[in-house]
């Protein structure tokens, strides 16, 4: 139970930076934590940073899609950032296109994307 992925709050956005190898239990814990934190903080966006991930299996791929769906239900947009080329190729070969998950190249671009979205939705900067 030692490894838990921290969920950081950054303004209206929750930042999850995954730095450890994802075991199934960690993934499930993260999903729980994230859902609770979204409700607790009223965040409008979630950024999942997977820059450090070298391997993504189908389970993690599904988790990303699920998390995006859960967050959307709680009125928060999810952006997955920093996916490595090798990981993207693996996911495509596995036939997982992560439908419904938004992606960005870098954390910066991901935050900008959420900001643009929020501006468009609320109609004010």
């Amino acid at each position: 139970m030692s490894d838990r992925v921290p969920v950081l709050k950054l303004g209206q956005v929750l930042l999850v930076s995954i730095q450890v190898d994802l075991e199934d239990q960690i993934v499930l814990d993260l999903q729980d934590d994230l859902a609770e934190r979204i409700v607790a903080t009223g965040a409008t966006g979630v950024v999942i940073d997977i820059t450090a991930l070298e391997i993504v299996d189908s389970f993690v791929g599904r988790m990303l899609a699920n998390t995006a769906a859960i967050s959307r239900m709680l009125d928060a947009e999810t952006v997955v950032v920093g996916m490595r080329p090798a990981v993207a190729i693996t996911l495509v070969e596995l036939g997982l296109s992560l439908g419904g998950v938004r992606t960005a190249l870098t954390l910066e671009k991901g935050l900008a994307l959420l900001e643009r979205d929020r501006t468009a939705r609320t109609g004010r900067p």
Partner: protein, 279 residues
């Protein structure tokens, strides 16, 4: 011992006079048609000649023997040089086989000499085959190196604009090439932090379902990383074939020319730089 006697006799025959080596060089240079200078040939063959005599002197007629390691090394070097310069296998092997002609027994040779000569022929045959093998190996190395170079050459990723990269694909696409293209494109997206990529297939002669599948995979992988791909340069016949094959690109943007694709991408990205403007 018969073998020892034979090899001793051979050493005598080979070192009888300097003419042996001279004749050998002449025989080889006749078949090579002056494509290698005589001086170079003399150098190569005299090394080979000396190491052969030494090996025979140490005894044994088995070419796999320790005594022959230098002969083998020289032969490998020789066949590599020949293969690199585009000589045929015959022209390579003649360097070894010409030695036989030089020592061919005459009418007044003794029976012992003939026997020794036959032993030598056997040895030279094995060495000749060894040479050919080395030659073929070098040729294969050259071919695979060239294939690799071709793969590298044919897939440049160019930066067209701030945040826009393009891959002009030229030549037939197969799985191996597509894999390389995909990896290079995705890596360059990361390196240049570009959000848009244009895949231009003007130079691809034919597109079938498999190639289309590869293109689709590349686009989906780029999307996973947070970049959008546009496919451009689809020629009329290719568009017809794709439709006839039932290939659908779905929501992937396709444009007729690279120009159209670039314009589209610039519009999408808010055109930070004006088209045809001062920049």
């Amino acid at each position: 011992m018969a073998v020892e006697r034979a090899s001793e006799r051979l050493v005598e025959l080979l070192t009888r006079d300097d003419a042996v080596q001279e004749q050998w060089v002449t025989a080889v240079s006749a078949t090579l048609g002056g494509r290698i200078s005589r001086a170079e040939l003399e150098r190569e063959l005299s090394e080979l000649y000396q190491s052969l005599v030494q090996a025979l002197d140490k005894g044994g007629l088995d070419w796999r023997d320790e005594a022959y390691s230098e002969v083998r090394a020289l032969l490998v070097e020789l066949s590599r040089a020949r293969a690199r310069h585009g000589f045929t296998p015959t022209e390579t092997a003649v360097s070894v086989f010409a030695c036989k002609d030089v020592l061919e027994p005459t009418e007044d040779s003794t029976a012992e000499d003939v026997k020794a000569y036959l032993q030598l022929t056997r040895l030279l045959d094995s060495l000749g085959m060894f040479t050919i093998e080395a030659y073929a190996r070098t040729r294969e190395e050259i071919i695979s190196a060239q294939a690799e170079q071709l793969l590298e050459l044919s897939t440049p990723v160019v930066k067209l604009w701030e945040g826009v990269v393009a891959v002009p694909l030229v030549g037939t696409l197969d799985s191996a090439r597509t894999q390389v293209v995909m990896e290079k494109l995705l890596q360059s997206l990361v390196d240049s932090e570009s959000e848009h990529a244009i895949i231009d297939i003007t130079g691809v002669p034919a597109v079938d379902t498999e190639v289309a599948q590869h293109l689709l995979k590349t686009v989906v992988a780029a999307r996973l990383m947070g970049a959008e791909c546009t496919i451009s340069g689809i020629r009329p016949q290719i568009a017809q074939t794709l439709v006839a094959l039932g290939v659908q690109f779905g929501d992937i943007v396709t444009k007729a020319t690279l120009q159209d694709a670039l314009r589209h991408v610039l519009q999408l990205s808010g055109a930070q730089a004006p088209l045809g403007g001062s920049r």
